[in-house]
């Protein structure tokens, strides 16, 4: 499916909802992948998904991703160390290289998610705070209760670090 910038922009601009008041139910995809995903609705019609990823073997390694149908159109990453090279043809406000651990990828027609922008003043932000920032920037009314990704996985994470 070829996306157009206009439809992606319209979806980003739309007020979106991740429904359900139940807590986030993290799943252990593998020892290095704790994930959760949920539908994203616009006026009660599901048009996308959110997908969250945590790598419990690394400190502050988080991904928060928004997809429009099957295409990923927005992602907030936290990773360290970090270096990202933005491609030729990037938007004017997009720097050449970024080193900021907290950064966002925004979809651009012809470039996909290859353009990244730094997010300042989040170096000490918790996972929950980063989730809030993701929802603010993606215009998502996030209704599930927050749960710490490590909450049900302490034993496995501890075990993994000793491997």
């Amino acid at each position: 499916m070829d996306l157009l910038q206009g439809e992606v922009d319209a979806f980003m601009e739309a007020q979106k909802v991740v429904p359900s008041a139940s807590p986030i139910a993290w799943q252990n995809g593998s020892p290095t992948q704790v994930i959760w995903q949920a539908p994203v609705e616009v006026e009660a019609v599901q048009q996308g998904t959110v997908f969250f990823y945590v790598n419990p073997t690394l400190p502050r390694r988080w991904i928060f991703k928004l997809s429009f149908h099957r295409a990923e159109i927005y992602r907030l990453d936290v990773k360290q160390p970090m270096r990202h090279s933005n491609p030729a043809g990037r938007p004017a406000d997009c720097p050449g290289t970024i080193l900021c651990p907290e950064h966002e990828h925004r979809w651009r027609q012809g470039l996909g998610l290859n353009c990244a922008w730094p997010l300042e003043n989040l170096s000490d932000a918790s996972h929950e705070r980063i989730l809030e920032v993701f929802c603010e920037r993606a215009r998502i009314d996030f209704r599930p209760d927050y749960s710490d990704p490590a909450s049900g996985l302490q034993l496995e994470i501890g075990k993994e670090r000793d491997v």
Binding site: G29, Q33, A44, V45, N55, Q80, H84, C115, A116
Partner: protein, 250 residues
């Protein structure tokens, strides 16, 4: 010599190294390789006795959503292939090696290369074929949504076509004589709906709708073109717009 000094002595000049802040003694190496989104591939090194462990800690597969065991199997095959080609091991999604300090520089590049290849291969993968079970699940979703919207529906309602042949409407709204056929992308299903609606088109009084499942990707234009010849074509993503018509028979 500290682990960081060992690593710095072994790796190429264009690889930046950083000690992880979690007290584990691991060193993150920013390599020249890149993931498909332009982020640099980082591999981690730690001391294990007289050996060094090099791992991508699963980052090559970081944000993979597995929709099925089938997809998981494909990704595992890709990871194994990339690992084999680069002479590294793959275990539970992680690519890595164990080596001597003297072999460290080469192994950092091998693991980084394998991790980048895995991510690039997956990014190039075409979306998987829609499965029959997804279509059944779509029928359930449509049924439940209509009922929640106070539209009385019947499943598998029996109707007679102009040929005299009996058909079953997947979803039938009796008070408006509306037939709703949810359509995924399987040509078998598309052909079946087409045949059904062709025969029912000759019978007066039915509103015929082909409802396309566009939750992930819309069936192709060829599907629409075929079905619009025998029915109205609507999409699931616009159900707020067409639901009043189904409810009121407009």
């Amino acid at each position: 010599m500290s682990v960081k000094e060992t690593v710095l002595a072994a790796v190429a000049e264009d690889i930046a190294c950083e000690v992880l802040a979690d007290g584990s003694g691991r060193i993150g190496c920013l390599t020249p390789f890149e993931y498909p989104d332009g982020d640099a591939v980082v591999v981690w090194v730690r001391e294990m006795g007289d050996k060094m462990e090099v791992s991508d800690y699963g980052e090559g597969l970081a944000d993979q959503e597995f929709r099925s065991d089938y997809e998981r199997g494909i990704v595992s095959d890709i990871a194994r292939g990339a690992a084999r080609a680069n002479g590294v091991a793959v275990f539970e999604g992680r690519l890595g090696t164990q080596c001597t300090p003297a072999e460290l520089g080469e192994n950092v590049l091998r693991v980084a290369s394998a991790s980048a290849q895995v991510a690039a291969s997956i990014a190039c993968q075409k979306p998987s074929r829609r499965k029959e079970s997804e279509e059944n699940e779509f029928v359930r979703l449509v049924d439940e949504t209509l009922r929640q919207s106070k539209v009385p529906v019947e499943r598998e309602h029996k109707l007679q076509g102009s040929s005299g042949h009996s058909h079953r409407a997947t979803i039938y709204v009796p008070h408006t004589h509306t037939i709703l056929e949810p359509v995924g992308g399987h040509w078998n299903q598309v052909a079946s709906v087409y045949t059904k609606f062709s025969d029912l088109a000759g019978v007066n009084g039915f509103h015929r709708y082909s409802l396309l499942d566009d939750r992930q990707e819309s069936p192709g234009d060829d599907v629409r073109t075929l079905l619009v010849g025998v029915s109205d074509v609507i999409t699931w993503s616009a159900h707020d717009a067409w639901l009043p018509h189904i409810r009121g028979g407009e």
